[in-house]
Amino acid sequence: MPNATDGSLEPRRFFLDRFAIDDSALEETIAQAIARKADFADLYFEFRSSESFSLEEGIVKKANKNISQGAGVRVVAGDKFGCAHTDDVTGASLRVAGETARAIAEAGGSSSGVSVRVTSPQHDLYTLNHPPLDVALSEKIDLLSRIDIAARRHDPRITNVMAGLGIEHKIVLIVNSTGVVVGDVQPLLRLSVTCIAEENGVRQQGTSGGGGRVEFSFLTENDRCLDWVRTAADQALRNLSAVDAPAGNMTVVLGPGWPGVLLHEAVGHGLEGDFNRKQTSAFSGRLGQQVASELCTVVDDGTMPNRRGSLNCDDEGTPTARTVLIEKGILRGYLQDKMNARLMGMPPTGNGRRESFGHAPMPRMTNTFMLAGESVPQDIIRSVPKGLYAANFGGGQVDITSGKFVFSATEAYLIEDGQITRPVKGATLIGNGPDSLTKISMVGNDLALDEGIGTCGKDGQSVPVGVGLPTIKIDGMTVGGTRA
């Protein structure tokens, strides 16, 4: 693979060489796509080279390498769009795709030519000297074996360890109907660890992991990967003695970091531009209104260096940004792609993302988190006579229209008389987006971002994201345990 880890010229050269086309093919395709009565058109080229390795039962059983590539042509006219995707990229297949995509628009537009000009992305968030794909295979295999040994040494009750390493190197090129050409090279690394603990016939699991748009050495710096091993193993071990979770409405304290998935579900999705343009979100028409307690400021920031959810530009070529969604409890902004921003008369925010060339862009989150407050975390716990402390979560889900959302605790404890006491079994928490955040009565000074393993699904498309949260106290939330 040609070295294409910096600048924007390289992605363009890379694709022109790879598909044996030239700038005129780009210009002809985009000019043809925009030839009808359309607002804009874009071309998206993608090349993704990935590797994955997995260990279980003490050995690395799987090693996979994959290459996917292709192009998508999109034509947008008002609130309509046409899209065509192909993985057999030639001048001819691009012409067919362009014709298919533009069928959405009415005939009769002016067909002036488009001349392309290359621009550089505004950010440079993850240029790597040594992309993880270039690291020797033996180093990757060794790392997984070290993780297995560390987990088993941690406690003899750990009976199985599953560790997975996923590495991706993605090159994209976006060409739009104003002639802008912008490319990006997007590395991505993810390590996951699952431990199974067993004692007296009871089995439990714990999971952890991390990563980002980082070099391979990130995993071993400061013994990060060993911290994840401990987290996964301890979670499995603690769950062995977990008692039934309580059921009903109670005070809930969320720990820092990954529990930020609360924000992702409770407000993040509901603030995506498409739902708000269509007025199908529980947050539709509520800009300027109070939707959270005044302790809450929530942002989506795609510009954080090396984070999993970050991008130099979104998949429409718009530079990513830091967008304030909620400021001191007041709803301030939506997450926009180009089409929804234009239809709502708002600026795009750099949140137009697509899973691959085979999918259409839509507004998506990047890294979504709440800013730190002033409370000391221990004081937050001490203030709760009876409640639940949730330290870690699995996934969540939201019904955008009714605002109801869930997220499932995988590590939780009872709070009794201001103290964290017994571990409880996992339970789902359910709330209503527009009012859950109004019940936040304390915000800690310990903002943490997650370790870099999050993936968000929307409309069948998965994209990497990040979340973050300081310790917070919610004065009432429904906890779905079994102990009524």
């Binding site: 996979n64 994959n66 969540g396 869930v406």
Partner: protein, 450 residues
């Protein structure tokens, strides 16, 4: 090699793998095209077309293996792929249970299971748009409280799969699928509720009518209006067919040979035991004609078949591919699922809980006070322990009648206890998806609310 048949490409890769020293190898090639159309508020909103093809080569170096896959079908790329796959196989660990199935076990005949409708390939965006408009209009016209819409959507696609292995198997088949859905939004007193209905089939002519899909979607959105929380209590819970199917899905995950050998299944060590009342049976049927989960052979070339999983309440079979069967001293059940980029796993084909004789109305009618669940949210199921806790939406049942809609509640229990506690199975089984069930009643679960 873009102009060669998929079979020729597969044969070339097997030969190249062998030339580079692979002791065994297999290849899966898939190609497909798809069309999706969306309509919103009576106007076309999107049209998407795509063509895709991908192939994956698994090479063995003795008892170790690796997979390489690509969308680049050029001769250079494929030659490199074979070389890389063998080189990668040499660095993974030797695993005595790995390897292709015995040649005696692979399918000898590729059955025609009526999985392909050529009409889907010929379909125009205009035809699909008309169906979407009709489905959405039926929803919008159903009631003045239907005030908005997330649209009507059609998706259709055709696929061809070819699988070839160095144990002598070569086979291929075509399949198709299509679906039509409507997503209306109902409003009352300033609060909105969205719901949907859909039909999914192998053949276009088997889809439910657009008007019936729209009307059903509207009825589902309307019945949610005015939902409230209920108090926390232990009560009987009725699962509608789609929600009951999600419980069958949890059985599927737990009877997978891969979950079992990893120690990640709450059904480990339960073979031969009674898990459900004797009136409950669950069957996996891979060769069901026209089934959404049917295929003539599995991801390793073995013939798919009918495998009882729960018979008269007793767990009688787990589901295996070759690898997990060898590890657990059993035989493959023809449930290997193979994607191009990964080694085989285990997946159910058409897995369903067999219909009972009680109508859903009778089941609800027998509940004096309880919950009727129509939607579940989130991922609160622990596959290792069976602990279950999910967000729910539905209706409160009072005196055998649907009393009022409820939301923002959870239901919780443990799957092993829930299964033993099944008190009724409905007569309303429809094979709407690859995993299906009729209405079922579970005697007691914890409902958490206000």
């Amino acid at each position: 090699m873009s102009d060669q048949s998929l079979e020729e490409i597969a044969a070339y890769l097997l030969a190249e793998a062998s030339r580079h020293g692979a002791t065994e190898a297999d290849v899966v090639v898939v190609e497909g095209d798809s069309l999706s159309v969306g309509v919103r508020l009576g106007e076309i909103e999107k049209v998407q077309r795509s063509t895709a093809r991908h192939l994956g080569l698994r090479a063995f170096a003795g008892k170790s293996s690796a997979i390489t896959s690509t969308a680049d079908f050029s001769r250079d790329s494929l030659a490199r792929l074979a070389e890389e796959s063998v080189a990668l196989a040499r660095i993974t660990a030797s695993d005595e249970y790995s390897g292709l199935p015995d040649p005696a076990d692979v399918a000898v005949e590729i059955r025609d299971l009526d999985l392909y409708d050529p009409a889907i390939r010929e379909l125009t965006a205009e035809m699909a748009t008309d169906w979407c408009k009709e489905a959405e209009a039926a929803a919008m016209d159903a009631d003045p409280r239907i005030t908005n819409s997330d649209g009507g959507e059609f998706a259709g696609g055709t696929h061809r799969v070819v699988y070839a292995a160095s144990n002598g198997f070569t086979g291929g088949y075509r399949s198709s699928s299509c679906s039509l859905s409507a997503v209306p939004v109902a409003t009352q007193n300033g609060s909105m509720e969205r719901d949907f209905w859909y039909s999914a089939r192998r053949r276009l002519t088997d889809l439910d009518s657009p008007a019936s899909i729209g009307a059903r979607a509207a009825a589902r959105a309307l019945r949610r209006l005015g939902a409230r929380q209920v108090g926390t209590a232990k009560v009987p819970v009725v699962f509608d067919p789609d929600m009951a199917a999600s419980l069958v899905g949890h059985v599927a995950g737990a009877v997978s040979g891969h979950a079992l050998y990893r120690g990640m299944s709450f059904l480990q060590g339960k073979l031969g035991q009674r898990l459900m009342p004797e009136f409950v049976s669950i069957v996996d049927e891979g060769d069901r004609p026209g089934g959404l989960g049917s295929k003539p052979f599995d991801g390793e070339g073995l013939a798919t078949r009918r495998t009882p999983v729960i018979a008269g309440g007793v767990l009688v079979n787990y589901l295996f591919d070759t690898y997990s069967a060898r590890k657990l001293s059993s035989r493959s059940t023809g449930n290997a699922a193979r994607s191009v980029a990964d080694s085989p796993g285990v997946s159910p084909t058409n897995l369903y809980l067999q219909a009972g004789t009680t109508s859903p109305e009778e089941i609800i009618g027998a509940v004096s006070s309880g919950l009727f669940v129509t939607e579940l949210m989130g991922f609160g199921v622990n596959p290792v322990t069976g602990d279950y806790s999910r967000g729910a939406t539905g209706h409160w049942i009072e005196g055998g009648e649907i009393a009022y809609p409820v939301s923002e509640i959870t239901i919780a229990g443990n799957l092993l206890e829930m299964f033993l506690n099944i008190e009724a199975v409905g007569s309303d089984l429809e094979m709407r998806r690859s995993v299906s069930a009729p209405t079922i009643l579970i005697g007691s679960m914890t409902v958490a609310g206000s």
